[in-house]
């Protein structure tokens, strides 16, 4: 009996699955909502709170994280069979740090104004737990294509939370969106939204909203 089921499983594994099979689509869809890296797994929160004062730096940050996540996931997934277990954290950190150095140089060359605002946080992508978490939990155990999809999904899941936070903080904090004034010249600005306090409270409310919608609760 047991040998039979094992044989069946082996056959299933050997079948080539289509590029966008149900399982692969899940890799992208899940992190967007039910398994979101920020609101459910609670990873990568530092930058989520720190860069969201206005929309433009937030968009740049999301793109940078997506880039680093995709390429580090691919690199670690390709190397997964040759990395010795004991020093894997250092190998992962070095791969990520190299990619972050590339992002940093590109931003410095082509987007200097934004770069000045977020330079420390671009550096902190290295220790962004989303990236380390995905490398540890997924890329080390999976082939490059699923690892790529997983990276895209989690990168977008990060952006899906950051952009609304930045939207509300910029709108109510300085009365503008993408640097364009929306609420009129007379809007006095709201210091609480501009400060880290606003970030925490807006994020808390977004989590509340999301969980009320999808019914996820935790015992605490």
């Amino acid at each position: 009996m047991s040998t039979e089921t094992q044989a069946v499983e082996n056959v299933e594994v050997k079948e080539r699955e289509p590029l966008f099979s149900k399982k692969n689509r899940k890799l992208i869809n899940n992190p967007l909502d039910a398994d979101n890296p920020i609101t459910v797994q609670v990873l990568g929160v530092c930058s989520a709170l720190a860069v969201t004062v206005s929309l433009i730096p937030t968009l740049v940050m999301c793109i940078s994280v997506l880039f680093v996540l995709i390429f580090s996931n691919l690199a670690i997934s390709v190397m997964r069979n040759v990395i010795p277990g004991r020093i894997r954290i250092i190998v992962q950190l070095l791969v990520v740090a190299t990619l972050v150095a590339i992002v940093d140089q590109v931003l410095q060359a082509y987007a200097y104004d934004v770069y000045k605002l977020i330079t420390v946080f671009v550096g902190l992508i290295i220790t962004n737990c989303i990236i380390m978490g995905r490398l540890e939990a997924f890329a080390l155990a999976n082939k490059p294509w699923p690892a790529f999809l997983d990276a895209v999904g989690n990168g977008l899941g990060y952006a899906v939370i950051l952009i609304p936070v930045a939207f509300f903080r910029e709108l109510f904090g300085s009365g503008s969106l993408l640097g364009i004034n929306i609420l009129g010249e007379n809007y006095p600005g709201n210091g609480v939204m501009m400060s880290p306090v606003g970030a925490c409270i807006v994020l808390g409310l977004i989590i509340w909203f999301q969980r009320a919608r999808n019914g996820y609760t935790e015992e605490a």
């Binding site: 950190l93 070095l94 740090a97 550096g123 220790t127 880290p196 609760t217």
Partner: protein, 218 residues
């Protein structure tokens, strides 16, 4: 001199608090703040690692990375015809160097603690690997180039940033322990209410900004 150190210390504990002003190290901050015991353990480990790695990274920055920092190689006798180090600028490599210093130090500490004091290892051991990827450690290193500290000042900065983190995590753990008895709306339980609590705590810490330290420069 002493006033200056005191100033940096108090500033980085209260005004530029790692958690409430910069949100560095939030992931582990939220993860371990459920119980006071674990919060104290991780807080102590973070303080120790910050105290050690910030001066180490200061050395790395000022003697290897900064523009012209390698000039001591010329002074040691490497001829200028071979390589003129006064123009070498390795800023590109700062991320890689900083994270390598932190990761290597954490790994060494873990091995040393395991060897020398098994009881301490049992108390702190599980937290040490977490620390290599704690943003506040790398963040403190990345703030260094903008601050122009001396070596001693960087050590004070590291230690007091750690103490600030320690205070923040223990305070939040205490609040969360009390919070578990209160009737929070279901979807808000756990992470949601924790974020709002942190926001209110950051609000309280904002009031330190106007604080004048009596014997300080500012």
């Amino acid at each position: 001199m002493l006033e200056n150190y005191l100033n940096i210390g108090l500033r980085s504990i209260f005004v530029d608090n790692m958690i409430f002003a910069y949100f560095l190290g939030m992931c582990s901050y939220l993860a371990v703040s459920k119980k006071i015991g674990t919060a104290v353990g991780l807080g102590a480990a973070v303080t120790f690692v910050l105290l050690m790695t910030v001066p180490l990274n200061w050395l790395a920055y000022n003697y290897v990375i900064k523009e012209g920092a390698l000039v001591w190689l010329n002074d040691l006798g490497v001829s200028k015809e071979f390589a003129d180090f006064s123009t070498v600028n390795l800023e590109v490599l700062k991320f890689i160097v900083f994270i390598a210093v932190v990761a290597a130090f954490v790994q060494l500490t873990e091995m040393a603690v395991e060897k020398l004091s098994p009881s301490l290892y049992n108390a702190l051991g599980i937290f040490l690997p977490l620390i290599a990827v704690n943003c506040s450690i790398l963040g403190a290193a990345l703030f260094l180039p903008g601050k122009e500290f001396s070596f001693g000042q960087s050590a004070v900065y590291g230690a007091s940033s750690g103490i600030g983190w320690f205070l923040a995590v223990v305070a939040l753990a205490a609040i969360r322990e009390k919070l578990s008895y209160s009737d929070v709306p279901k979807p808000l339980r756990g992470l949601g209410i924790t974020f709002i609590t942190v926001g209110l705590m950051a609000f309280a810490f904002l009031s330190f900004i106007g604080f004048k330290i009596p014997f300080g420069v500012e």
